[in-house]
Every structure is written in C-alpha cells, then in structure tokens.
Subunit: 244 residues, 6 copies
C-alpha cells in the first residue's frame, strides 16, 4: 500500500501527479479525450483547503419504501455499513441519493469506521448527518446538504458498486476522483494516467505563464497561449525545472 | 391475454377494479398499508382524460459518458429498443432519467413500436422526443418534459428492469401503476389486490356521500365521515347497488 | 343575494363590473392606487375560459405536527370543513399552504359541499386532491399542484380568516378577487369599487383602440396612447356606446 | 411576399419545407452541422396544434432602472412598440427578458398591432400580459409566463435586433425559427436551407418506417435504422412517393 | 435567571443537557416521540462553531401591502421592534418571512438592542440586513439570505407569537430550539426534557462507540448497534463515566 | 491615479466615503433617489471580510454557438482577454453570463493579468475557473459558482461595455459598485457622490445609535428613529466627532 492510499505503483503515480494539479487542468485533458461532462456540479465542500484523490466506491439510494427496506436489511446489514467495511485506503464513497437532502445517509459512528478503514473522501449527492462532528475529522467531503434525520426517513439503499449518477456526472466503481476547492472531477480509469501526466505538464506551464504575467510587462495575448518568444522562455525554464 | 392487458385473471381483476378508482382512494389504502410515499410528483400528463393501468417495466439512464455509451451499444441495441421489444400488453415504461429534460429518451419511431407491442403507458422522469406526434397516438404519457434532441446528447441507458427512482417514488419491475388526471400511483404487487378492492369500496361509498351532499340538506360534518344515520342510508344503498 | 353571489348592491355592482374586465386593466388601477403587488404568481388555472369573481375567505396551513393536529381536531372539525360550512355564495377559499404540493388540502367530498354552499372559487398556494373529479364540477380553481395524499401527510390547519400569503401576495378576508386565464388579482375592498369602475372604463377604451388598429391604417404610436385624433374618435364612439 | 410570410423565393422554400417537419428532425440536422444547442427550453406553448415558422426579430430587456427607462423613452417610443412597427410578415419577436415573469413585455393593444403587421409568432423568455385575449388571436406564442403587470414594474428595453439569449439558446436577428408542440428550434440562416431539406428527407423516411412498424411484423432493430431489406422497400416507396 | 438564559430550573436543566448533544441525537428522540418533521431545512448558519439553545419567540411576515403596513404602524411600533422589546435572555427570534430574501427584517440597530436584551439567536426563513456587522456580534444566526434593503421593500409584519412555518417546520412560541453546525431542531416544550435526557444518553453512548471503533479492531456491525460484548464494555464504562 | 484606484479627485472622494459605509446604508439612499432595485442577489462572496469599491466594466455572454464563437475570435481575442487588457485600477469586471454555472468565464492565467492591471473585483452572474487559485490572490469576488470547464463548453462573449443584467440588477459601464459581506450594490454614477455622502452620514449616526443602545438603558423605540433627547445627544456627539 502506497502512502497516498494507492493499491499499486501505477495508481500511486496517478494519485501523486493528480495531487499537484487542479480540477481545471485535469478537466481540459478529460474533455480533449472525449469526456467533457466529468465535473460534478452542485455539491459544496467542507474542507476547501484539502485536495482529495482516490478511487470511487459507489452507493445508490432510492426513495424509502418498506419492502425495499426489508430487502436491504435481509442482506445482513445496511448499504452504508457494507460499503465502509468494503472500503480501504484510497476509497472514496460516491453516493447517489438522488439529491435528497431531507435525511443523511451516514453519520458520526459509521463515518468514524470509514476513517479507520482508510477512506479518502465522501462525495454525496444527498446529505450526511452529524456535520458538527464530521467536519472535525479531516475527511474531504463534498455534499449537497446535511440533515439531523437518519436515512430511514427518506431513502433506502439498493446498489453497491453499480453505475451511479452524482451531481450530473455518471460514476462507475474504480473511477479516479480529484477534488479541490471548486469541486470534483471524475476520471475514467482507462484515461487516468494520461490525464494525470498531461495535466501536470499543463500546470507546470501555466505556473510559468502566471509568473511571466506577474512581471507586468507582457499582455495576456502574448502569454496565453504563449507567443514564440514566451514559449522559448518556457522551454528554457522547463529544462531547468522539469515537470516531476 | 385479458382485454385490459392483464396477464392472468388475478391481474385482470386488479386492473379492472383500479380502472374504477381514483389515485386518491388508492393512495389512502397504500398509506394505510405502510406505503404513504407512493404518488409520483412533478410529472405532467398529456392525456388528462385517459386513465392508465398497467405494470412497470423500468429503465435507468445516467448522464452521457462515452465508455458507457459503448457498453450500451455493445449489448446489441439501445436500452429503449430492448425495452420496447421486451414490452407486451399492459406494460408501462417507467423511466428514471434523473429528471434530465435536455434530451428525449424515446421518439416517434420507437414509440410506434411500443404501441404495436401493446404498451399501456409511459412514465418518464425526464423527456421524450416528437411530442407533436406522440400526443396523437392515444398512449397515456406522464412526462417532465419534451425535447427535440436525441438521448445521446445527455443520457445513456444502464439498467433494464432494476429498481429505479421516478418523481420521488421508488419503482420496481412489476409494480402496478394507476394514472389519472393528477398523476400516478405506484402500488407494490404484493398489496395490489387489497388496494384495488378497498379503494373500489371507498369510491363506491364516497360517490354516495357526494350524492348525499348534493341534496343540500346535510352538512359536511354529518356526512364526512358519515354519522350513524348517513351510514345506515349508505348500507341500504349498498345493498341495492353493490360494489362491482 | 344577487345573482352573481354578491351580498349587497354595492358588492353586486363591483362583481358585475369586474366580470367585464381583465386582470391587466384592474391591475393597472390597483397599481395606480398604491397596490402594485396584487397579482398572484405561480398558480395554474384549471378552467382558463371561466372568469372568477368573489370575496376571500382565508385558510392557513403549516407543516404537520402532531400537537397542532390535536389542537385542530379539538376545535370540533378540520379547518377545511369549518371553512366550507362558513362559506356562502360569492366566497372564494384562499389557501396558504406554504406552497406545499405533497398533500391536498381538500378533495371531492368536501369540494362537493363547497359547491352546494355556493362557493365561487378556489385559490390554493398548495394542492388539492381528486383533480380528476374536481375539474368536472365547474368551479374556477387556481392551484400550485394536485396530489393523491390527504392533508394529514404534510400540513395542518391553524387559522381561519386571518391574513395570509398566497402566491406572493398578502390576502385578507373580504378582499375582492378577480381571476381570468392568466391568474388572480387581489383587490382590497376599500378600493374595489374604484378599481372596478376605472378598469371597466379602460377596457372600453382599449377595445376601441384594438378595433382601430385592426383597420390597419394607424401605427401603434398613433393609437397607444391615442393621439388627439384617435382620442376624438373615441369620444364620439363612447357617446354612442357608453361604458355600462 | 410569399403566402407563408417569406421575403424571397429562397426563404419561401425554406419556410415551406420546415412546415412539413418536426423540431426533432430539424434538430438532428442542426446537431450534425455543429449546432446541438439549438432547442429552446423552458417555455410553454399556447397553441400546441399550430406550427410556427419565421425569422427572428430580437428584443432585449434588463431589470428596471429609472435612468435606462428615460433613455428608452428618449428614443421616441418603447422598445416593444418600435419592434412591432419594424415587424412585417414572417417576423417572430424573440424576447430576452432574462426569464422575468413578474411583468409582461406586451399586451393586447400592441399585440393587435403586431398581428396586423403580419407577425408570425412570439417567443418570450419572460411574460406577456392579457393572456385571456392574446390566446384568442391565433398567434403562435411560446412563453415562460403571463402577468397582469406592465413591463415598467420590472423590466426596461435596451436592445433591438442584437444577439440575445432565450431559453438557453443564443438567437441572432434573421435566424429561422421552427416551432411545434414541444418547443422552438433556432436555425442559423446560413444552414437553414440544408436543415430544411435534410429534415424533410428524414421526415419522409421516418413516416415510412413508422408505417412499416405499424404492420406489426418487423422489430425495432430491423427498422430503426432500417436493415438492407427495409431500406430497399423504402427506396421503392420513395420512387413512388418522392419527397416534395 | 440561570446562566444559560433559562427562566426556571427545569428549563435550565433542559438547556444544559441540550448544549451537550447534537441535533442528530435529539432528532432521533423527537422522531421516536412522533415528531419526525422537526429539523429546519434550507437555512445557513453564520457561526457554525457556536451551539444555540433557547426558546422560540415567533414573528410572521407577509408580502408588503400598504393597508397592512398602516395597520402594523398603528400598533405603535413595527413588529421587529415589538419583538426585541418583548425578548429576554434565552429568547430566539423565529421569523416566518415566507422565504423572502429580497429584503431584511432586521438590521444592525435593532439587532444591537436584541443582544442587549439577552437574545439567544435568530432563525429567519427570509433575510436580515447588515450582515457585515451582524456576524461580528456573536449571536447565533440561521438565515436564508441577507439583503441591503429594509423590510418595507417586500414584507410587512402581521403576527407576534403565533404559530409559524419556518424552513418546513411548524414552530409555536415557547418551543425549545437547538442549533448546531448543520441546522436547527424544533422541540415542543412538552417533550423537551425527555428529548434532552435521552439524547444526552445517546450521545454518551455514541461517544463510546466511536472511541471503540477508533481502536481499529471491531467492525461497524459489531459496534453499531453494539453486540453483547460491546454493550457489556459500555456498561462498565458508563459506571465509571456516568452521563451528567 | 489615487491610492484607492480612482481616476480623479471626485471619484477618489466617492470611493473613500463608500469604503466607510455598508451596502445597507447606501441602499437606503439609492432607494430614496428612485433606485430601490440596486442590490445584486444570488451571488456568494469569496472574501467576506474585504470591502470592494470600484467602477463597472461589463461583459455579456450568451449560450455557446459556433458562428458566434467564430465572430468573437475574429475580433482578435476573446472577450475576457480584451476586457482585462482594457481594465485598469479601480475596474470591476461585471459579467452577465445568464447565470450559467456549467463553465467558467475566466481562470488563473487571465485572472493574474487582471490583478496586474489593477483590477478591483469580479462580479459574475455565472462561474469562474480555478477557484482554488483565485481565492488566494486577494481579489474580491462575487460568484454564482465555480467550474473546472472553460467558457467554450457553454458560453460565448458578445458585448464589451454594454448594459447588462447581473443578479437581478441592470448594470451600465461606469456604474459605481460597493461590495461587502452580504453582496453588491450598484450605484449609477450620476448619484454616486450623493449616495456616498448621505450614507456616510447615516453610518455615523447609526454607529452612535448602536452605542447608545449598548448602554442598555434606552429602548429601541426611543432610539430608532431617535427621539428628541437622543437626537440632541447625537448632535452634541456629532460636533465632537464630525463625519469625515
């Protein structure tokens, strides 16, 4: 197990690179590879200063109905409990609760277990409970809301690790997620390495372009995209300060 | 096959009874049996004068994503096409498109095939296409919207006959649906006969109570619920005009 | 009792005049008298071809709570039943249900009694039940929604004939209401006669102006507002066809 | 002037072809030519049985502000009046009122003049006044709402025939608009002929495919898209019944 | 007067206990006693790190209307001013402004007086003014918005200490309110002591269960709810660390 | 150039005064001068502790459309780039993106250039990109959202320094803007000096009134508005501590 929660060296490299980039740089690569609809909308972050990187473990909830509730319980445990026991380092719970904010799918006790299991984040198209406690445990969380009521008031779990819809983006289990202050990007695993590497290169270049602009001499049209002169300067810089 | 699209005498009896009742009377029975959250909200009906009765055949869509689109196509056909070929008399397509109204899941050609197959209705938490044509074919439809764009603009099919969420209600395949001018009630099959029979009895009684009020003599407190005198009159009436 | 449901000759005259005018003409007079915020927004009409005129009888509901429910029942009857028994010819129930559309405040049985009592309309910032039946009884209705569930699922009655909020407008008992295809205007009783008379005069004049434009000779700048020539023509016309 | 309101034979041909097709068929061609975001969302139609074809004449409103109001009046007339006097046969007023439904941009008198001028339709991302009258004059209208208040309560006109935003689509003056029961498609003039012709061909073919399905023998996978056999049958049919 | 703003020892005990518990634990007890709909939704907190406990003093506003405004002024003062003069230690203003965020019901001057009077919090289904100042005075506030305009722009006060609707929950004067980072729970006075005591017991137990999980040995199914072994450990712990 | 970004002494005085006042005090003056609808609604601030004062430089975007995109590029640069090169000290970009939050109109590189140019703030009825970076550069920002996608995904620029609509308020180039924790006030230049001076006087007086209340002796009715005695005290105070 890598320090960043990755399961293997390939994943570790992806996670490491993504920790250096913004959702914007990564989105641009995703879009160029055919995935423009990959940024989750409408959730708010609880820890805007923390980056989040990990892989998706998905849960799906539908509106409460007694027979489905019985079926969930008959499986031995609730969906949320099964999910946190299945979770390991680097896992992010991605919860499709259909945007329901009138009940929370998880609270302080199950949340504590998730942290112990090494969970890397929560992305909830719905609500959690116990926000006062949950925002103190250092777990990156992206939520539509928080509510004092338990899930049984409104929703019931139906699927673990199926394809779900979350904030307007489809998420499949194993997708790589990148979260920063503005939201979460969903990256299909098949393109994750390419996204991570190209986005890191973009980021490296844009850092240079911002520094160039900060000198106050060149205009935006010279610099973004860079004209021949600025590009040459960047190439010199890049040799001295290579992309990691 | 019964005239009303039912598959067996039990279902035929249920369908027949439900055709006589309102979603209100049926909701009251559902609620008394533990299912208060059974009325779909937020859809509009295209044919308010037509009642709809049938069984649910469910489809689930998530936001468009190229790899899921390939997976759907790899199954040999699109989800909508597989659904209409699977459909028979009495089937109602219940579509969970996550409320997306920026693309239609079905249009005039596939819709025509569904009618030929004997389809009994469409309930779409999302949109259809070709509304100008579709509203002429006599099929009861409950929709969140209609859009000129094909599904590929926004959504991709992922599940046939799984549990879905539609207008705030969970629907499982085989649920019995009752639609009238105000919306759609979702009735779990296990309680459908009881709901149909009790609702028909309620309806019979309330018709009498309305007729009683129309005479203009009694007040609402005498009649609803009926006091001893009115109840006695109803018992006499019920012997003369039994519930079917 | 006048034919139009009025309680006295003054009210009868107001009702009669208002039946000839649009909510637009009446709004313009209300606005000029200091009441620009008098048109209810967000409700839909069930009978767009019927005009509605009457006086407000108000009901207020809040979210369901068991102790308030007990208090309502302890008053001997539900709020809706007390309201329909209190209602007489010319009364319009104005219901502040806080926009809640997940339960209906009234259904077919109580609605029938209201019609028998001479009720002139329903204006509901919330929902009714039994829409399939209610839309057949000829009662003008303006609603935010319709739902199969009874009020007890979500709301409880707290006030009869207090000041309420309905579709963004404050309504007090006894206000005069005018409804047409586009919505409902709330007219304080103190200004109702002035509104009715001035609006009838406006209507008379605008009918003439539209007829003038339909001849296809004059431009909109000649006619609206009318220049001296058109005004003179109107004065001639008005002498021949006086405002009722 | 052509019978259909067109200004020249080219436009007349476009209008004629478009009258035969649905917004769906036309959208598919627009999307294939790079314009997928061309269907206006969120407006409702007042005359669902009428098709609408014409060219855009655009108006832009912003929230009311006294100095802008003075500036509008200083131009000699209001924006709406200038627009209807500028309008001729085949013109459709496309109004960007920012979705404001608390005041109507036009009412019965100005609307009458617009009809006299030969106006072909109204598409309003906002509201009109006098709905009770306006829905009787046979003019296709697509609206977000209707309100009794005049525009001065909320909005003020700032641009005539500039680029506007309407229901999520950019519209420029002279764009060709096609409206049917489900909404309005915005077709840039440069591609309008190609859209009209290809959509008419699609429509012709889909009519045949629907008729084929109605015989009840072939499945949707045989017919949509047509397999070799069905395609051959269609070629035979097309020779006998050519696209107009 | 107790240190926590309570009026008597009973209330003081309730306030003290509630200060130790979360809205989640208290909600669970409320729900078990028949009050599941007791958590206010849709407001945001200005001081997420402050707990709020107190009793409700209610205000109701409706959309502005000149005659109601005159009536309010005729009472000698505005509703907000009468409320703050009525308020004492432990009082929380609960304001039903119908969700209106286009004008603030209270600002810095009246807010200052409320703090001087010992006010314990603001819960506003609407907006306040002077947010820049108000967020510096240490008063817990839960708001739908903040606006620079005074109440007269949109709303007028009609009721002091009546039953109101706030964020989807009915509130009556004297209800006990508990606020934390995620929102506000409304507790009817008749059950407040039971809620406070049972919630404190729950909290005590869940603290233990979280600590147990943090050791990383037991699974969520062992601990939540606790199996016999964990329960026994808790009983030992509880004897050593009794609930206050 | 003045220290506060003003272009001339008059503007410098206005900026200086406005920095001392709240949007509330300034709104009250605007409203009294005929501009009640001057406070932008629905945006959130990223730096609630920073005041913002400056003049409006406006941009207008409409939904993306390829031909408009070509037209924008044909002008030599994108709208955002032209705007930041045009901007100087004291300029605030006011962006009408129609509320679109699915793509950002500006990101870290262009944002950096704007800061170098002396830009005083961003007010966006839409979204920006690179929020994680942008919130670190000390620029006051009021936004509807933030998104990882570039503007080309959804919007295209059409107007520089025209009249725009932003958060329900019309903004013209050169308007003076005042932002604080609760939002932004738009002040027409023609009244800006009067607004600044009168608001500063109000602020001065309300500071005194709050201090008076904090002594805990007088009631709100004595102080707000001040009775003769308090007014006299204020006059004494004002002589000793004149308004700047």
């Amino acid at each position: 197990m890598a320090a960043n929660g990755a399961r293997d060296p390939e994943e570790s490299l992806i996670f490491e690179k993504l920790l250096q980039v913004s959702t914007d740089s990564a989105w641009a690569v995703c879009a160029s590879l055919g995935y423009p609809n990959s940024f989750i909308e409408g959730l708010t972050t609880v820890l805007p200063d923390r980056k989040m990187v990990g892989r998706a473990l998905t849960l799906r909830y539908v509106p409460m109905r007694p027979d489905l509730n019985e079926r969930e319980r008959a499986s031995g445990s609730t969906l949320a409990k099964r999910a946190v026991e299945l979770a390991g380092p680097g896992d992010i719970l991605v919860v499709d609760a259909g945007g329901e904010t009138g009940a929370g799918f998880i609270g302080d006790v199950i949340g504590t277990r998730f942290v112990v299991r090494g969970g890397a984040g929560l992305v909830v198209d719905g609500a959690i409970r116990d926000l006062h406690y949950m925002r103190t445990i250092g777990l990156p969380m992206y939520l539509r809301g928080a509510h004092a009521a338990g899930s049984g008031r409104r929703i019931v779990g139906v699927d673990l690790n199926g394809t779900v819809s979350c904030g307007g983006v489809a998420v499949t289990p194993g997708d790589i997620l990148l979260g920063d202050a503005q939201g979460i990007l969903v990256i299909p695993r098949a393109i994750a390495r390419e996204v991570a590497e190209k986005a890191a290169a973009t980021e490296h270049k844009e850092n240079f372009l911002r520094a160039t602009l900060q000198k106050g001499i060149r205009t935006i049209d010279d610099v973004y995209p860079p004209n021949a002169e600025v590009l040459e300067e960047y190439e010199v810089y890049r040799k001295q300060h290579p992309v990691d």
